[in-house]
């Protein structure tokens, strides 16, 4: 049975979470907290590592924005154990990416307290800034006014992984009158200990949660399937695909933004793709003409080959593309097939092996 606590919100759910996080710090249940944080200079919340409980005032744990996928930042704090407890407040896709990074030995989660929340999606950075110019507390209005929730990114709308997997604590918003109260659910023993230590009284999980989750799931799944079929159309043959990526500048922003592309240096920046003049000239001679930089298609397909099993669908690649190429749509669409093939859900479970590390011991000819 999962442990569940109800927290009053008094029309300010962010404040409620802030005080929980603050208490965790001051009660020394954790040593530091990584949480979105509004700096004095911009309204866009940036992942920030907080040690002083007083600094928690500026935290924006539930902000419907993510300037980038913060899994990388979390991983850098958790690169190896330091003997300190680190709580990280992340969106679902960020937690999933973090778990993938842990499988790739980019971080160790033993000392981490993963805090997730039911994700209602994020708003693109530029729209968020625009909105922020008009409105002081976007977060509260975002949860109070469901029409604002339609302004989330297309990829968020198509995301069926809105409930955190494997989090120690989940901030439950689904099915809750968020302006009155929200839930705090422990998914692990560590999470339970925190709820107990904070002295929160526990209750049965309210029924509304599952119902709300199912209806959201249905909506998201429909959007997802639509996205898949529209995107498939855009890439379904090499001609269409070339058109879709024709404006790619080989800036590699997409790969830099990708939380699971963990390479220190992308192979496309190494000597492997730094062709000798002989190669380029011979290529031109054989094909008549070669666009430079070369290997644009190769780049996108290789990235799929490397990471599609681990794509968490956070959509950051699309967000950063200067040429508005629907990178995320393509990734999600293709990845869905690969993940289905391997029966693999990235970030589902840290003990689940990366598909390429497990294989049948014996098999008969070919196929």
């Amino acid at each position: 049975m999962t442990m569940y606590a109800i927290l009053e919100t008094n029309n300010n759910p962010s404040e409620t979470i802030r005080s929980v996080l603050k208490n965790m710090l001051s009660e020394k249940l954790v040593d530091v907290v990584l949480v979105p944080f509004k700096t004095e200079y911009s309204s866009l919340p940036m992942p920030t590592l907080i040690a002083d409980p007083e600094k928690m005032l500026q935290a924006q744990p539930l902000a419907p924005a993510a300037p980038f996928n913060a899994a990388r930042q979390a991983a850098s704090v958790l690169r190896y154990p330091t003997g300190k407890k680190v709580a990280v407040v992340l969106r679902t896709c960020e937690i999933r990416a973090l778990i993938e990074l842990a499988k790739l030995k980019q971080c160790v989660l033993d000392e981490a307290i993963l805090i997730g929340f039911d994700c209602m999606g994020r708003i693109e950075n530029d729209s968020y800034l625009e909105m922020a110019a008009q409105e002081e507390d976007i977060t509260t209005s975002f949860y109070a006014d469901s029409s604002m929730q339609d302004r989330i990114t297309g990829i968020c709308k198509a995301c069926e992984y809105f409930q955190p997997y494997g989090a120690d604590l989940t901030i439950c918003l689904l099915g809750m009158p968020v302006m009155e109260k929200i839930g705090l659910m422990a998914g692990t023993e560590a999470g339970e200990n925190i709820i107990k230590s904070l002295g929160l009284s526990t209750v049965e999980q309210p029924e509304g949660r599952e119902v709300a989750a199912n209806s959201l799931l249905q909506k998201r799944t429909e959007a997802r399937d639509k996205l898949f079929s529209e995107t498939s159309e855009k890439i379904k043959d090499i001609e269409k695909f070339q058109k879709t990526i024709a404006n790619c500048l080989n800036c590699y922003n997409c790969r830099n933004a990708c939380p699971v592309c963990y390479c220190k240096e992308c192979v496309f920046l190494t000597d492997v793709f730094a062709h000798e003049p002989e190669v380029l000239q011979r290529r031109a001679a054989k094909r008549g003409a070669v666009k430079l930089p070369a290997d644009t298609t190769m780049f996108h397909m290789t990235r799929l080959a490397h990471m599609s099993h681990a794509c968490v669908g956070c959509g950051q690649c699309s967000s950063v593309c200067p040429s508005s190429i629907p990178v995320a749509d393509i990734f999600r669409t293709v990845s869905a097939k690969v993940q289905e093939l391997y029966n693999y859900v990235p970030g589902r479970d840290i003990s689940e092996s990366i598909p390429y590390l497990v294989f049948e011991e014996e098999s008969s000819n070919g196929k």
């Binding site: 498939s232 070339q242 497990v358």
Partner: protein, 141 residues
Amino acid sequence: MSDEFEPKIIALVCNWCTYTAADLAGTSRLAYSANVRIIRLMCTGMIDPKYILKALLDGADGVFIGGCHPGDCHYINGNLKAKKRISGISKIVEQFGFDPERLRLRWIGASEGPEFQRNMNEFFESIKALGSTPVRDRMIL
């Protein structure tokens, strides 16, 4: 020369078994298409997904991958690892309109020269039936 479609095939084969079988087919004068280009690798486990993508994007009509029978791999199980990886690649390229039939993985042992010939011929025919790669005559970015 006639205009008939002659598929261009890249065969990525492991050094220990399938390459040996190819060589045996050669010395036993077992003929197959001259448009098959054999690339010897030490093991199918060495096959990076990039190689397959490269071949397809550079205009190969078919990519044949040949390794040792399960259990025979000189490096214990490179072939099984390859199989897993290739199944993923095949799924990916399929989304972009490459018929998965253009990618074929088979186990051919060192003494199976006739098997190698048969496989080449069968693959050649099936590619021929599929027709030319969608990449041909296109500018691939």
